[in-house]
Every structure is written in structure tokens, then in C-alpha cells.
Amino acid sequence: MQLITCPYCGPREEAEFHYGGQAHVPHPADPGSLSDEEWAHHLFFRDNPRGPFAERWVHALGCRRWFNAVRDTVSYRFHHIYRLDQARPETP
């Protein structure tokens, strides 16, 4: 049970959060202009790095706010947690 620091509510148990997949993958502004392949890539392909990974989370059982986090997929450690209106922090 990890402790995740909601940018609003502070540290809470992992059970209060839902995972939202890779962050910074905006929905294409004009999906109609994409080829089938480009659209399929948007729908079905996500990065799967070993190491730091920018993800979306939502404090589902708390304040219901979505936020972003950079988490290490090896150690699970959260390196950065930031609000949606904040830029992604620099990571090594």
C-alpha cells in the first residue's frame, strides 16, 4: 500500500486513488484529420518505459481531482507530483 501525495489533500493511501494511464497524451484536436493508423496509435499505444514515467492519477475517494505524477516504474517511487496546470518537472 503506497502513500500517494494528493497535491490538494496530502499523503493518502493508494486505495483512495485511481490510475489514469500515461500523462501528456492529449486527445488530438482534430481526430478526423488522422489516418486510421495514426488514430489507432493514439488509441492503443502508450509508452512503457523502465524508469521515470509521467502518469495521471485521480484522488477518486478524496477530492476527486486529477493530477499528474512522475513515478519510477522500477522502484514505484513517486519522484514528482504536480497539478494539471503545472508543467512536467525536468527528470533525468
Binding site: L3, G20, W39, A40, L43, V58, W66
Partner: protein, 970 residues
């Protein structure tokens, strides 16, 4: 009878005698005993036989590291797979030894199990000298401390020793330390509490054994008994800013031929039995050691009256001070010698030492000490092989975790005391606490000695009787076999031999297996490493893990505001998500089929009422609410007029249906969205996700109002009469109140009755004034019948429901459940998301192209409808299936194939049945199914295997009842 119990000494209460039964024998012991110490006091070592080979086995240690000594408790309540060494003796205890497997009780366990969350600045695991010093240091600095220890009392290693601290008995210091800790309000000190799992971010699970040692009311001779209202065991869920592992070390044996006989024991264990329990583990003793620590056992047992016939020290260089102590007591020391074999069947009778035969009834063994690094390793800490110790020690620093004392490889008492303080001070600095000055406890000077010899095994003799894991009957021969089969890593050797997989998880065998495998492979043990330590550290009963989340508390049951009425009416329930929904209301003598046919006929022929309160409801407000919903629903929402209702379908970005329901426009900037019962939470989260992450510029606010509104569809040709009676202010005519519109009205409220309980404030507030209760009526239909959905503030739900039922009485109003609702909707081919869909179904597949806007430039999922895969002609489409035999029922989930015979596999599958019912209206069975290119097959006959036969069914238009929709307006 307690022939080997010394007349004095130990931490047992000799003034009270307990009776207990072991392997059918009536025996006695004392409070403070473990089952093992009480057995040893009677000279009983053998507890049972081994699991594979049936060899006699006995107590081999004094605590959880014992690889033998598995027992089954029969009284006071059956419990399998416990260790004689860790079961505290109680009066009336009945137990027996077991060869590896026990039995669970065949009656329910009436004991309570619970959990507690706790938070600490510093969690200290282990209340030995290291842990006590650390806890004191942290408590004095003002930190919140949790100190857990698995024994019945604090002291750890000191409980089995004669060490001295500050010039007095070490246990006096322990008593003073625990008394001081008890004086701090923010120190939680738990004995009989085993930290069994160490997870991320300072999260540790610990099991507290709370009542067993108190005995049961029928078996107590005096003092406290186990109170039945207290939980028997408690799982502590501890979240600590810093975790300090001070779990000590486990003594390690040496492997030699026939090293498994009863009467062969770890040297430190025998010392514990002597000092803690006042028990001599044997009268004629041989000690076999590779290090100095076992000399203390030889000396102490000799002083207590045992005849110690030899200390066999594998080292050529023996420790002079210890040898001198032995010589003074007439104990011969055999330097540079090895034990090569033993004799005896039920109990050891002699030891072979380099050709010499030494008779004995107790062989004490010490191969060194393994730091208890389990909890460090579980949290992800890497280990490093220490060649001097012949053991694995913490190999790195980790944030928020430290290891001190014996668990870090510190060998002597003075070092442990200092290390505990040092580790606590290090942790406190990081937590912002300032350690206070206080004198450090001083241990008696350490006896200088000789370095330990790392010796995994004595090679002489038969490898097949050189036991590495006694519980698994796994030997050196098995390791050799594994290596012969090509295993090259310790993880593979473990799985091939099963070494380390028993109840003790290899506390004694793990490092030995690494060492022996390394030897056989000719590789350094440090390179081979050790197997991964995983929770739990010691076995934990499932009952404890379940805690109070069992029975009716296993999963929350959600109920509507009218639940008590359904109960009184004898409803049979369907679980929908966590909701309890009436499935049907049987009359006396009715089964489900009869009740549902009656309910269906009543609705289509008269009027019925359903509790639809479980539907999810979301209030959508804001200037951009219409635009927002327009983007999320496949159909046009923005054009919906205030006062009107629209059915909407929601798809994922992949174009697959994820939810559906009605949308009411309450105002230009306000909507009320209905979701499916099961989808409510997910849809709100889905909407928030788009709003917050994609469209933060939209001014929209989403609020769940699922429980705010109770929802009662009143359905059937007579529903207009019922609604007109209950709401006389509303013009219920079709012209004034057409299909897919809603109207607000009010009912007068009554503030007497239950309202007498309205709280009045000491702060001078006033209760709210009387007012009318708003009701929202909506002309929507999930059955094809004329229907009015009554929505009311849930405070008044019960009263309004009862009023509707009362008003409907003269029309024969029939309450109906989800099963009838399903039949009625299936007759109209209204899909149930999650039953007729499975995440691969588009609105077009459901025949609902009409609900997909062609005008909107964008909505979630739109682009996906143009993907080639979603254009395939052979996509599965929703159709009805009509069995040729009108009485034949197709089980849901049945496969649909071409037929009329079954071809050779692989059999081409056309699809499957998603919903299946008996229709009262059609007087026949029917089903909905997803069938490849189903709409082009309408009128064809396909086949469904049912109970071993292939039955013909006709593919039909999905709407099987009133396809022209003539009944909608009454």
C-alpha cells in the same frame, strides 16, 4: 513428572500448574511456558514424524526458526500448522504433532479478528536490547513511537541469557526500559506482535496475538480469561515515517549426516529453555560449534547440572577464555573436529566425532548467526554476503528504513545497545527531532574470542540423510540433484528442491542451501546470493487477514430509501454491483418463473411500479454544460429543450458503448444525467477526467445526486390513472405531457411523525419551516409501455412510494423487480450495458445508429466509427433469437453456430446469447444475441447447443414486442 524442570529459575509461574494433552498424553506445565518448553520439561523432544520420509522429528529451536515441531491444536479450537515453540501454554490445551499438514476446524470460528491503523514517526521492530535502546532514544526525543515484538515479553535475546547491563541483570534493565516507555503517551508498545510484512512508504503489517494466552473461561485456574468481546488476533496496519528493523538474528545449524534426530537442537535454543523456562533440554550433552556463542550454552547447561561430554569445535583455534571456563567444569573441548553422524531413532543416543562415539541425549549445534534481514529485504532492500559472518546482511542504505543490532550483523550486547541508539538518532535527525542527552546503558565486558568458521556442512557420510530443510525432508542429495538437472541459481534450486518453502520459509535452511549449492557449483556464495524474502515473515491465519470484513461486512450492501418496504413485501434480491435490488416479489407458492410471468403480465396489462433509485444520477451545471454533454454523448444533446428528455449513449474513444441513460434538461445551463446502476461511479469519473484533463476551459460542474433522488417508474397502460390521482396538479394527458418530457410538481410535507426527531440546537438554531416536497415526473419508458418516472427527494421517498402504491391499488398496481424489468426491456431490444455489451460493441452493432449524430463535428468515439474494423460487414450485431421450440429456454452465454450439425473443430462461432427470458406477452421464450452479420441473417435458422443437443433457433428482428411502438402513449 517435570523431570527436567529445574527447581528454580526461569520466567514461569510455578505457583500455578496447567494441565494439557499432547499426542494423547496428559501433561502439566506452568504459565509462561510454551508448549515446547513444557514438553521438554517432561523430556519429550519428539513431536511427530517428517512429511515425506516419516522420520521422527523433535523440537529443534526455541522460537519461530524451528523447522520442526509443527503441531495441530484441537482444544480449545482446532487450528493447524502451529509451532510448539511459539504456542503459549494454556490450561486444557490439547495438541498433537503433525507431519507437515493439519486440518481446519469443520465448525465456524467464533473468535473475532480485527485491524487497527496506527501512525508513528519511528516504528521499531524488535524489543531486544537494540530495539529497546532505539525506542527509548526516540521516545525521549518526543517522537511518536510504535515498538512491536513477537515474544510474550520484551527482552529478545536477553530472555535466554545471563547477560548484565549497568551492573545488574539485563532483564532488570529491560523492565526499567519498558516501564519508562509506558510513561510516554505517544509510545505504543505491543508484545506478542509479529511484524510480518514490510511494504512501500513505511507501511508495516503486524499480527498481535491478543487473547489465546489468557485461556478460555472453561479452562482457567485463576486470573484473567480471554474475553469473548475482544478480538483474538489483530492486524496492525502501521504507517511509519521511519522503520527500524531490530529483529535480531537466527542461529544457523551445520548440516551433517543424520542431523535431524529428536534431541538435536540449536545451542541458543537450549540456553533459552534453560534461562527463560527453567528447563534442561537434556542431561547428557554434546555441543558442536563453529563459533564462540555455543560455549555459553555448554557452560550454562553444565552449571545447571547437565553432563556436557564435549564441545566439538570445528575450528583449530579455540577461544582461550571459553576453553578455560570449560576446563574448570570438566568439559572436554575437541578442537578442529566435526560431528560426522548420529545414532538413535526416537531420540539421539550418540554422536560420531572423527571415529569416536560419544553417547548423549542432546546435541547442540551452532553454525553461526543469520541476521534477521527479512523485513529489510521485503521492503526492497538488497543484501550483501558477509564472509566473516557467513551470512547475508543489509547491503545498502534505504530512505526511511534502517537496520540495527543483530539484524545488521552486530554480534555482542554492548554493540547492540550502542547500535540501537545510533540508529534511532540517525532516524530522528531526518525526522526533525533532537535527541536528548541521556546516559547509555553499559553492557558487561565482552569475552574476547576467535573468529567464526563458516561451515555449511560436514561432507562425510550419506548425502541423503544430510538434511538442509527438515520440514521439507530436503537434503544435500536433493541440492546435488537439482544442480545435476541444470539448476544454476538459488531461486531455481529452491523451486526444484522445495527448500525454504515450508512454514518457516527457510529461516534455518535458506542460507545453508545457498552455501551448499555454491560449494557444489564451485562458485562464491556471495555471487549466488539468497532467495527473495517475501511476506509473511511467519504464517498468518486467513481469519486474521480477513478481520471484520466477513459475513455481511465482507462487501457493503447498498440499499435504497424504500428497502424496508421491499423486505416487508418479501422481495427476492438481485445483487447489482453493491446494490440490493428486488429481483421479484413472489406470492405464496410462486417460483421465479411464475412470479416474473405474473409481474410482466400485470405491467403490460395494467400498471406496475419499480424501485429504480439505484440508477446513477449526475447533476451537470454551468454555462458550457450543453457543449460538454454534446462532446460526451454520441447523439445531439445541445438541441434538447428545457423540459425535455433524451436517451443518450456514451462511448469510449474507441467507439465502444460504455454507458447509456436518459438526459433531462433542467435549464439552459443545467442537466440531470442518468447512468446505469453499475456504471454510476465510473461515468462520473469518466466525465471528470475529460473535463479536468482535456477541457479545463469548459465552465461545467459535476455533482453526484444518485442518493439525492429516489426514482420510481410507474409503468403500464393504467399508469396515467395512478399518476393523475397522486399528482392532481399535473395534466397527465399525452398532449400536455408528451413522451420524453418532464414536469415538476410538489406534494405537501408533514413535519410531525418522524420529524419529531429533528435535532434542536443548543446553539439556538431553528428547525426548518414546513414546505412542499418537489417531485419530478418524466415520461420515459424502458418497457415500451406508457410510463411515468417519479423522482423525489429521498427524504420523502418512502412516503411517496407508499402513496403511489395506495393510489394504484384499485388499478391492481404490482410492484415488480429487476427480472421483470429485464424481460420487458428485452422484448423491446433495449440493451443492458455490460450484459448485451462487453466493451467490443458499438451503437451501430446494437442497432442504435439513430442515436449517433451525423451532424456533430466531434464527440468522443466518433473517429473510431470510421476505422476499418468498425466497418466490417461481419461484426456481431444484436438480434433476437426465437427457438423453434417455443418452450425451449436458451441459457445466457450459449454459443450460436450455423448447424444443423456440429462440424469438426475448430467450429466457426457466429456469436453468443446475451439475454434470455420467457415472455408473458408472446407466450414463448426468446433471447437477445450478438451474431456475426446478424441483421443480414434475419429470418434464417441458426443453432445453439443446449444440454448436449443442437437446437434450431430463428434469427429475428431484435424488437419482438410492439415493434411499431403503439403502446408508448397509452
Amino acid at each position: 513428572m517435570n523431570a527436567l524442570r529445574l527447581p528454580a529459575g526461569g520466567r514461569i509461574d510455578r505457583s500455578t500448574t496447567y494441565e494439557f494433552t499432547f499426542n494423547g498424553q496428559r501433561l502439566t506445565g506452568h504459565p509462561g511456558d510454551t508448549l515446547a518448553s513444557a514438553l521438554l520439561a517432561h523430556g519429550i523432544h519428539r513431536t511427530g514424524t517428517s512429511i515425506k520420509l516419516g522420520r521422527p522429528r523433535g523440537i529443534a529451536a526455541a522460537w519461530a526458526e524451528d523447522p520442526n515441531g509443527l503441531i495441530q491444536i484441537e482444544e480449545p479450537f482446532p487450528e493447524p500448522m502451529l509451532l510448539a515453540t511459539t504456542v503459549e501454554l494454556t490450561d486444557g490445551l490439547t495438541a498433537r504433532g503433525i507431519p507437515g499438514q493439519g486440518r481446519l476446524a469443520d465448525v465456524p470460528d467464533s473468535a473475532r479478528y480485527d485491524a487497527r491503523h496506527s501512525h508513528a514517526d519511528l516504528l521499531v521492530i524488535g524489543a531486544g536490547p537494540t530495539g529497546l535502546c532505539a525506542a527509548l532514544t526516540a521516545a525521549r526525543a518526543g517522537a511518536r513511537v510504535v515498538l512491536v515484538d513477537e515474544q510474550s515479553e520484551a527482552g529478545g535475546y536477553l530472555l535466554g541469557s545471563t547477560d548484565r547491563i549497568d551492573g545488574g541483570p539485563a532483564l532488570d534493565w529491560v523492565a526499567a526500559a519498558t516501564a519508562e516507555l509506558a510513561g510516554f503517551a505517544d509510545v505504543l508498545h505491543l508484545q506478542r506482535t509479529t511484524a510480518f510484512g514490510h511494504f512501500d512508504d513505511g507501511f508495516v503489517l503486524a499480527l498481535e496475538r491478543r487473547t489465546d494466552h489468557l485461556g478460555t473461561p472453561t479452562h482457567v485456574l485463576g486470573g484473567e480469561t480471554a474475553p469473548p468481546h475482544k478480538s483474538r488476533q489483530r492486524v496492525w496496519r502501521i504507517r511509519a515515517r521511519h522503520v527500524l528493523v531490530a529483529a535480531g538474528a537466527h542461529e544457523r545449524p551445520v548440516v551433517f549426516s543424520d542431523n535431524d534426530r529428536p534431541g538435536i537442537m540449536l545451542a541458543g535454543g537450549a540456553r533459552t529453555y534453560l534461562h527463560r523456562y527453567g528447563v534442561l533440554a537434556g542431561r547428557d550433552v554434546v555441543v558442536f560449534t563453529t563459533n564462540d556463542s555455543a560455549y555459553a550454552a555448554a557452560v550454562d547447561l553444565a552449571d545447571a547440572g547437565a553432563r556436557v561430554h564435549a564441545v566439538v569445535d570445528a575450528r583449530a583455534a579455540t577461544p582461550a577464555a571459553w576453553v578455560q571456563k570449560c576446563v574448570r567444569r570438566g568439559i572436554p573441548v575437541r578442537a578442529g573436529r566435526l560431528v560426522t553422524g548420529t545414532e538413535g531413532v526416537e531420540r539421539i543416543t550418540a554422536v560420531a566425532v572423527a571415529g569416536e562415539r560419544i553417547p548423549c541425549d542432546l546435541l547442540l549445534v551452532s553454525g553461526g548467526w543469520n541476521p534477521a534481514v527479512h523485513l529489510f529485504s521485503q521492503a526492497g532492500g538488497t543484501l550483501r554476503y558477509d564472509g566473516g559472518l557467513g551470512a547475508f546482511v543489509p547491503g545498502e542504505e534505504r530512505d526511511g528504513v534502517s537496520v540495527a543490532g543483530g539484524a545488521a550483523g552486530v554480534a555482542e550486547l554492548g554493540g547492540c545497545l550502542a547500535d540501537g541508539r545510533r540508529a534511532a538518532e540517525g532516524a530522528l535527525g531526518g525526522l526533525g527531532f533532537v535527541p536528548v542527552d541521556s546516559p547509555s546503558p553499559v553492557a558487561e565486558a565482552h569475552v574476547d574470542g576467535q573468529p567464526s568458521l563458516v561451515l555449511w556442512r560436514v561432507a562425510d557420510g550419506d548425502q541423503r540423510t544430510q538434511f538442509v530443510d527438515l520440514q521439507r525432508d530436503a537434503t544435500v542429495a536433493d541440492i546435488a540433484c537439482a544442480i545435476g538437472a541444470g539448476m544454476r541459481t538459488v531461486e531455481h534450486v529452491k523451486r526444484y528442491t522445495t527448500i525454504g518453502t515450508a512454514h518457516d520459509q527457510g529461516k534455518t535452511s535458506g542460507v545453508l542451501a545457498s552455501g551448499i549449492a555454491a560449494e557444489l557449483l564451485g562458485r562464491p556464495v556471495g555471487e549466488l546470493g539468497t532467495t527473495t524474502f517475501r511476506p509473511p515473515y511467519t504464517p498468518v491465519a486467513f481469519a486474521a487477514l480477513a478481520g471484520r470484513d466477513r459475513g455481511s461486512l465482507f462487501d457493503p450492501e447498498r440499499t435504497t430509501a424504500v428497502h424496508a418496504w421491499h423486505v416487508a413485501r418479501g422481495a427476492v434480491w438481485e445483487d447489482v454491483g453493491q446494490w440490493k435490488r428486488p429481483r421479484y416479489y413472489p406470492l405464496p407458492g410462486e417460483d421465479m418463473e411464475a412470479a416474473v410471468l405474473r409481474e410482466c403480465a400485470a405491467v403490460r396489462g395494467g400498471v406496475g411500479i419499480l424501485d429504480g433509485s439505484t440508477l446513477g444520477k449526475i447533476d451537470v451545471q454551468g454555462p458550457d454544460a450543453a457543449e460538454f454533454l454534446n462532446r460526451l454523448y454520441t447523439n445531439m444533446i445541445a438541441t434538447l429543450k428545457v423540459g425535455s428528455v433524451r436517451y443518450g449513449v456514451m462511448c469510449g474513444a474507441d467507439g465502444m458503448v460504455i454507458d447509456d441513460g436518459t438526459v433531462l434538461r433542467l435549464a439552459g445551463d443545467r442537466f440531470l444525467v442518468y447512468t446505469t446502476t453499475g456504471g454510476a461511479a465510473a461515468v462520473l469519473e469518466w466525465m471528470e477526467e475529460w473535463l479536468q484533463t482535456e477541457w479545463p476551459d469548459l465552465r461545467v460542474y459535476l455533482t453526484s445526486v444518485t442518493e439525492q433522488w429516489a426514482t420510481f417508474p410507474v409503468v403500464g397502460p393504467r399508469s396515467r390513472d395512478v399518476i393523475g390521482t397522486v399528482f392532481p396538479d399535473v395534466d397527465v394527458s399525452n398532449a400536455a405531457f408528451p413522451f420524453m418530457t418532464w414536469r415538476d410538481t410538489v406534494l405537501g410535507s408533514n413535519r410531525s411523525g418522524h420529524d419529531a426527531s429533528t435535532p434542536r440546537s443548543a446553539r439556538g438554531g431553528r428547525p426548518a419551516p414546513d414546505q412542499d416536497v418537489p417531485v419530478r415526473l418524466a415520461r420515459v419508458s424502458f418497457s415500451g409501455e406508457l410510463a411515468y418516472e417519479v423522482n423525489v427527494d429521498s427524504w420523502y421517498a418512502r412516503a411517496v412510494w407508499e402513496r403511489l402504491v395506495a393510489a394504484g391499488e384499485r388499478h391492481g398496481i404490482t410492484p415488480y423487480g429487476t427480472e421483470t424489468m429485464h424481460v420487458l426491456r428485452a422484448e423491446k431490444a433495449y440493451p443492458i450495458v455490460g450484459q448485451d455489451t462487453d466493451g467490443t460493441v458499438t451503437p451501430h452493432d446494437l442497432g442504435m445508429s439513430w442515436a449517433v449524430s451525423k451532424k456533430k463535428p466531434f464527440f468522443v468515439g466518433k473517429r473510431s466509427f470510421h476505422r476499418a474494423d468498425n466497418q466490417r460487414a461481419d461484426r456481431k450485431q444484436l438480434v433476437a433469437l426465437l427457438p423453434v421450440d417455443r418452450n425451449l429456454f436458451l441459457p445466457e452465454g450459449s454459443q450460436v453456430i450455423e448447424g444443423p450439425s456440429v462440424p469438426e473443430p475448430p467450429i466457426p462461432m457466429l456469436g453468443h446469447v446475451t439475454s434470455s427470458y420467457r415472455s408473458a406477452a408472446l407466450e414463448r421464450t426468446f433471447a437477445l444475441a450478438l451474431v456475426k452479420a446478424g441483421r443480414t441473417r434475419i429470418g434464417e435458422t441458426v443453432h445453439v447447443p443446449v444440454a448436449g443437443a443442437l437446437v434450431p433457433v430463428e434469427v429475428a428482428e431484435p424488437v419482438v414486442f410492439d415493434p411499431e411502438g403503439a403502446r408508448r402513449d397509452g
